[in-house]
């Protein structure tokens, strides 16, 4: 293959890896919005807690990759449910602004709680022995393959749950109508808890994979990544699961390609300008549909 093609394929692979991680986090934002029309700003910090769970399990208990991943997902899922029960449920009838402020508060609590326990950046031990293959000049690492394939699997699994199972049907029903659906015998609280558990579990998986790819973690790592994932969800059409995935891969690609073309300082500036432009053209996001507000 010519050198130019190799170069661009390599950059595309980099973009795909970054996009996969953004997608897993963006899904949590979009699911919670879909069901509660609330933006869970603590989600980026749940992702950070996931990375720290991963650190605890792998370096303190010495677990290998698969148990670390599963226990981390379980841990963050539980954390998601607890946050919802303690912080958001009492405010479900309150104005939306109150719930958003609470979410920001929960996020700061998680950051500072972690900061108090672990003020120094932590190094995650090698969870997977890395092998780099040379495929016609393109460097493909085993970690890249694991991240991309695992993310895609989780995304397809989620899509299946939402589209094909009765729990998924209940989720979609609640997001459609919050007044009459409970009257049909659908346990709203349970379904909301399950939604939070799935969203936070995916953030835990993202945290583990992030720690695998970028193995130095700190309490503030979730802030910027969280914002970016939130933007992915909005660009894709917030509330829409497939939209969040598309948004994430767009942002991943834009970020990598900007650095490939321009000085790196332009990265966030160009990426966010492009996304704003996209929102201006399609205010409801790529796959979002205008919702008719009932008076």
């Amino acid at each position: 293959m010519s050198e130019g093609i190799v170069y661009w394929l390599q950059q595309a692979l980099n973009a795909f890896q970054l996009g996969s991680i953004y997608a897993l986090i963006a899904l949590g934002y979009t699911m919670v919005y879909g069901i509660l029309t609330m933006i869970n700003f603590a989600h980026g910090d749940v992702f950070m807690i996931g990375a720290f769970f991963c650190f605890l399990l792998s370096s303190m208990l010495g677990l290998s990759f698969i148990p670390t991943l599963l226990l981390t997902m379980l841990g963050t899922a539980l954390l998601g449910v607890i946050i919802e029960r303690l912080a958001y449920k009492p405010l479900r009838q309150a104005p939306k602004v109150s719930a958003i402020i609470t979410a920001l508060g929960v996020g700061m609590f998680l950051e500072n709680f972690t900061l108090a326990l672990a003020p120094y950046p932590k190094q995650i031990p090698l969870l997977l022995e890395n092998v780099t293959w040379d495929f016609y000049g393109i460097a493909i690492s085993s970690i890249q393959i694991v991240i991309i394939s695992l993310s895609l699997t989780l995304m397809f699994l989620l899509d299946y749950i939402v589209q094909r199972t009765s729990i998924g049907m209940a989720m979609r029903a609640i997001s459609w109508d919050k007044t009459f659906v409970p009257l049909m015998g659908i346990p709203v609280d349970l379904i909301v808890s399950i939604t939070f558990a799935i969203g936070a579990g995916l953030a835990g998986a993202a945290g583990t994979m992030y720690a695998l790819a970028y193995p130095v973690i700190d309490p503030y790592m979730g802030v910027m990544v969280g914002w970016k994932a939130f933007i992915c969800a909005v660009v894709g059409g917030i509330g829409n699961i497939r939209g969040a995935m598309i948004g994430a891969f767009i942002l991943g690609t834009v970020e990598i390609m900007v650095v490939a073309f321009f000085p790196s300082t332009f990265k966030d500036f160009v990426a966010f300008s492009l996304l704003m432009l996209l929102i201006m053209i399609r205010p409801y996001g790529i796959l979002g549909k205008p919702r008719i507000q009932k008076v």
Binding site: E3, V6, Y7, Q10, Q11, N14, Q17, L18, L115, P119, Y120, P121, Q123, P125, L126, N130, T132, D134, A139, S141, I143, Q144, Y210, A213, Y214, P215, V216, M221, M224, E255, I256, M257, V259, A260, P263, S264, T265, K267, D268
Partner: protein
């Protein structure tokens, strides 16, 4: 009370409070020295080393009877402030130390990011400030006139010096013709090191094939590393803090980059070995001192430090120890505890035997005359390769 306390009454009250407050100090007079370090934030390893070394220096001085001025013994009291590795918190810390704690002199901050603004405040308040580790030329220069500041000194060499030393080393010792540079464009020291490295390397006849940047807080360097890989350099110059180096080296390894990496003194934390998972094996960096070719003075410090804290002191520790030592020496040689007098005494010290070599300030400047060492990473150790001057 019907009357509001008058200012005079308040003053008397506060004097009484101060007298009571001093009561439990056993009439022992103290000299307050401020220390501003990066205990939290991006480089806690730097802050911890610096604080440990300063505390060691103070303890040693105090247990040797303190410092006597005009026949009167004084104990040293260290006032430690955290600057969270941030510029604005450094300014707040230096203001607090000068106005609230009324310290005689200040040591720190270590990183240029905090040291430059802190130095401005110290100069304005005519308070002596010695930065152990800030290598940026701006720290000791007056930004408006371009002349050296009066009250700001450093115990280390400067970035331009280090950039030149490394460019020569890469070209002459590593026999590299093409280099790639990757640095944090939002951080002062890496930026000026990268610029000076490039300038010198090209002056000496080398070629810079890639000059890539990232921004503080970035975690993904895959796009930059892909660019660097396709430019096919002989050596990659990476003047980055050890936290970033850990991430970059591992990602470079995964991207199939096998060329040696060369770094700056910001690499020199023992944390680097852990953070990089073995991917910096055999790589080189410039440093202020090498613990394996220690002089007797250095040996004594290394032993005391290792005994107290359980690890070998890094360059920040050594430079902080030297900064404290320089300050104590200057105080001993000055007839009074006036800030100006102590400053003059420091500026004229001749050949102070420090851990990082003999230190003497260039006349009219806060920068010392020193040379650098080149270290190589072997296993979990930094091994001395050579002494280097440009």
């Amino acid at each position: 009370m019907r009357k509001i306390l008058s200012p005079a009454a308040l003053f008397i009250l506060s004097v009484i409070c101060m007298l009571i407050g001093c009561g439990d100090n056993k009439q022992q007079d103290t000299i307050k020295v401020g220390l501003i370090v990066e205990l939290t934030g991006d480089m806690p390893g730097v802050g911890a080393s610096s604080k440990n070394a300063a505390q060691l220096a103070v303890n040693e001085q105090n247990s040797a009877g303190g410092i006597s001025i005009g026949g009167k013994p004084y104990q040293i009291e260290l006032v430690v402030e955290d600057n969270a590795s941030k510029a604005e918190q450094s300014v707040a810390a230096v203001n607090k130390l000068i106005t609230q704690d009324n310290v005689l002199a200040i040591v720190g901050p270590n990183a240029s990011l905090g040291a430059i603004p802190a130095a401005e405040i110290a100069e304005y308040n005519k308070t002596l400030l010695i930065t152990p580790w800030s290598t940026n030329p701006k720290t000791t220069l007056d930004t408006t006139t371009g002349k050296p500041k009066d009250y700001v000194f450093r115990a280390c060499y400067t970035d331009p010096f280090e950039g030149r030393v490394l460019a020569r080393f890469v070209l002459e010792k590593l026999k590299a013709k093409k280099v790639a540079v990757l640095y944090d464009v939002a951080s002062e020291a890496p930026k000026s090191q990268a610029d000076l490295f490039r300038l010198t390397f090209e002056e000496l006849g080398g070629k810079t094939v890639a000059f890539e940047t990232y921004t503080t807080g970035d975690r993904d360097f895959s796009a930059q590393l892909t660019k660097i890989k396709s430019a096919n350099p002989d050596v990659i110059f990476l003047p980055a803090y050890y936290n970033d180096v850990g991430l970059i080296a591992q990602q470079a390894h995964r991207a199939g980059i096998t060329q040696p990496l060369v770094g700056s003194d910001a690499w020199s934390s023992p944390e680097l070995i852990k953070l990089s998972n073995g991917t910096v094996e055999g790589d080189y960096f410039a440093n202020h001192y090498a613990s394996d070719i220690a002089t007797p003075t250095a040996k004594k410090f290394i032993d005391a430090y290792t005994k107290q804290y359980g690890n070998i002191p890094d360059d920040v520790a050594a430079l902080t120890y030297d900064s404290m030592g320089l300050l104590f020496e200057a105080i001993k040689k000055s007839p009074s505890l006036d800030r100006k007098v102590v400053r003059d005494s420091l500026a004229t010290l001749a050949n102070y035997p420090g851990v990082t070599g003999n230190i003497q300030f260039t006349a009219g400047s806060g920068d010392p005359v020193k040379s650098a060492v080149i270290m190589q990473i072997k296993g979990d150790k930094f091994v001395w390769v050579m002494n280097a001057a440009p």
